[in-house]
Amino acid sequence: MLRIEKTIVQKSVILQLIGEVDASNSVELDDAIQTLVQEDAKSILVDGTGLEYISSAGLGVFMSYLEEFEEKQIVLVIFGLSDKVQQVFHILGLDQLINIKETKEEALEVVYAK
C-alpha cells in the first residue's frame, strides 16, 4: 500500500510517501514525479517519514530521473527516512547521488541554498 500526498511549502513541492513502495505501485510514484517534472517544478522534496519499505523497483524510479533532474537543474531532496530505508539507499549507493537529509528544515535549506 502506498499513499502519495502532495503539499506545497514555500514554493517547494513536497511529496509525502506513506506506506511501502514495491513493484506493484512504483508506477504511482513514477507518475507523481513525472507530473511534477511536467509542471516545471524546480525542486522536489520527498518526505520519507511515513515510508516503511522501498523495493528495488521503487529505487529504480528515483534512479531513472537522476539524469533528467541534472539536465533540467531540478533539485531532489529526500528527508526523514527511517534507518532501515536509508540503509537501502546507502547500500545501493544512491545516497551518493541523491541529497538525503534528516529533517524537513535541512531539506528546505538545501533548496534555498540553490
Binding site: D22, A23, S26, D30, Y53, S55, S56, A57, L59, G60, V61, M63, S64, L66, E67, K84, I91, L92, G93, L94, Q96, L97
Partner: protein, 686 residues
Amino acid sequence: MFKIPSINIGKISLLVAILTWLALLFVDISRIFAVLSQIDSGISIEISWILEISFFIMVYIFYNDSIQKSENNNFLDMIWRGATTGILATAVSLLIMFFYYLLGESRLATDPLLFNFFYHVNFAFITLFLISSTLLWRHLILYQKNKKVVQQWQAFEIALLISMFFIFFNKNTLDYSFLFGLFFLLIFGTSLSANLKWIPYLTFKEKWKSILFLGIILLCTSFLFFQLLSYSESADILVNLTDNLFLLSLFGFVFIYSLFSFLVTFFNLPTSSVFEQKLLEVINFQRLSQSIKPGENESQVLDILVDSCMSAAYVDAAWLELKQDHKSHFIHQRFVKNKERRELYEMINMAKPFLEFNWQDQGNERKVFYGKIPHPKFKSAMVIPLVVNKETMGRIFLAKEVKDGFNKEMINIISTFVGQACISVENSRLLNEAIKNERYKEELKIAQQVQRSLLPSQLNHDETFEIFGFSEAADEVGGDYYDTHQIDGHRFAVIIGDVSGKGTSAAFNMSQMKGIFHSLVQIDPSPGEFLIKANTALSKCLEKNHFITTTYYILDTKNKNIYFSRAGHCPTLFFDASTDSCEFLRVGGMGLGIVRNKLYENYVHENEIHYEKDDLLVMYTDGILEAKDGNGQEFGYDRLKALVKANHTQSAKIINEKIIQGVFEFIGDNAILDDDYSVMVIRFNQ
C-alpha cells in the same frame, strides 16, 4: 448347435397371403363351378370365411412389418404411400370396369366364373389398401403418443379382430347386430381420429401436399366403397366377401381419419406460418446457445444473431455496430446499402428514445430502444446494446418499413436472442483466455527451466575451500544470480548479483549478467575493472529504471587473499575464525546501471582482505534480509549474523541449509516470500 435361420416375416407373410388368396379363389370358383354343373361341391361356406380371415391377418402382418421397417419415414411419405395404394386399387378396379366395357354384350361379360375372378381381384386390392392405410393411420395417431392413446388403439385393433369373426355369428346378413357392430366401430374410429398431433409439424408446403394426397385417398375410398356396394347387389356372387363388418369398419375408419386430417390440415394452413416461425425461433435459440468453439470467430454467432432477429420480427433492414478502440465498425449489414445505412444510423441516433443510449452506461444489458424514425422508407427502428462482460461492445440495429413494427412478443424474443448471443460470445472469450493463460503458463515453465540452467550446478573450487550455493525465485522465474570461474591454478572469480524487480523482466536481465560475467572473466579484470566494464555494457541494455547490484570477488588461494568490489550489493558477511566474530564488509560502491557514464568510475572501490583456515565468506541477496515474519518484522542483518556464528563449524553446505531453514522458520508457515533469495557460502579449509 443349430441355428434357426432368421425368418423374413415380410416375405413369408406376403407369400402366405398370396397362397391364401389363391386358395380362396380356388374354393369359391370351384363352388360356382359346382353350382353351374349342378352338383354339390360339398365345400362349406365356412372354409371361405376362414381363408378370408387368414388373408386379412396375413396382409396385416405383411404391412405391419413393412411399415415398421421404414420407421423413419416422414408423415408426407406415409400419406403418399396410402394414396398410392389407393390409386393402385382404384386403377385395378377401373381397369376391370374398362375390360367389361370392352366386352360389351358378349357372352364372356356375363360369365360368372370370370366375374367372380375379378371380384376376388378387387377384393384383394381393396383389402390391401384398407389395411395398409389403417396401419399408416396408426403411426399418425400414435405420434407423440401417451399411454391412453396406445391403450385405445390396442382396444380398437382387438375390436377389429373380433369383427373379422363376426361373420360366423351373423352369417353375412344385414341385421341389427351387424349395424350395431358397425356403428360401434365407427364411433371408436372417430374418437381415435381426434389424434392429429402430427399436422402442426408440417411446413406450409407439406401441408398443401398432404391435403392433395388426403384428397386422393378420400376419392379412392369413396369410389371403392361404391364399387363394393354394386357387388353386393349382384346375384352372381355366392359368397359375399366384402359385405364384411371388418372391411366396412375399415372403410369407415380410413375415410373418417382422412377426412379429419384433410379438414384440420386445411384449416391449419393460415396459422402454419406462425408455428413455423416459433419452431425457427427455437432452432435459432439453440444455435445461439451452442457456445463458440475455441479458435472460431465470434462473428459467426453475431451473424446467426442478426438472422434470428430479422426472421423473428420480419425486419426489413439490419446491421451490427461494434465498438473497438472507440471506433465503430459495421458488420452483417442486411438489405441496406452503405449510404442508406449511414443515413439511417444518423437518424436513429438523433431520434427520441435512441438518444438516451450511452456507451458507458452500466445498465445497458437490459435496455431495449424502439420507436419511430423520420425516414421516408423505414418507419420504425429498434436498437439493442450488446453487453459482454459488463462492457457494451456493440449494438444491433433493426429497421422496419411499417410504423410500430415491433410488438411485445418480438421485443421479448429479440432481447432473449441478444442476451443468448452475448453469453455465447462471453463464454468463448473466457475459454480463449483460459487457453491463452494455459499457454503462458507453459511458456513460463519453459522459461523457468531455461533460467534454472543459468545458475551453475557445479561451482568451481579447489581443495583449499568448499563452496555451496542456493537460490529460489519468488515467481516462476527470478533475478538472482551467482556463478564462479577458475581464472588460473590458484585464482577463482566469484560473483553474486541481484537484478532489480522480479519475475520475467528480472530473469532476462539476469541472463545478460551471466553473459557479461563469462565474457569479462576471460580478460581477467580486477574487481574494479570488472564493475566499470559491466556498468558500461549494462548501461546500453538495461531499461531506464532497472539496475543490477553485484559483488565481484577474486579468491587467491595461494596468498589467501580476497579481492572484491561491491556494486550496490548487500554487504558480504565474513566470519573470522581467529576472533570467532562475524562482520559485514561495509565498503563503498554503486549499483550497476545507476550512473551510466564515465563518472561511474568515481564510485568504484577495490578492497582486499586476508583469510585464514576456517574463515567463512557468506554471500546472499536482499531477499534474505527482507524476508518478513507474520508481524512484518524483517529477518535483518543480526539474525543472519547469529545463524552463521552458531553454525560456523559446519560444512559450507550445512551452513547454507541452516540459513535457508532459519529464514523459513522466521517467516512462519503461512507467509510467502515475495522476493527472490539466494545464499552462497564459502568455507576456507586451509
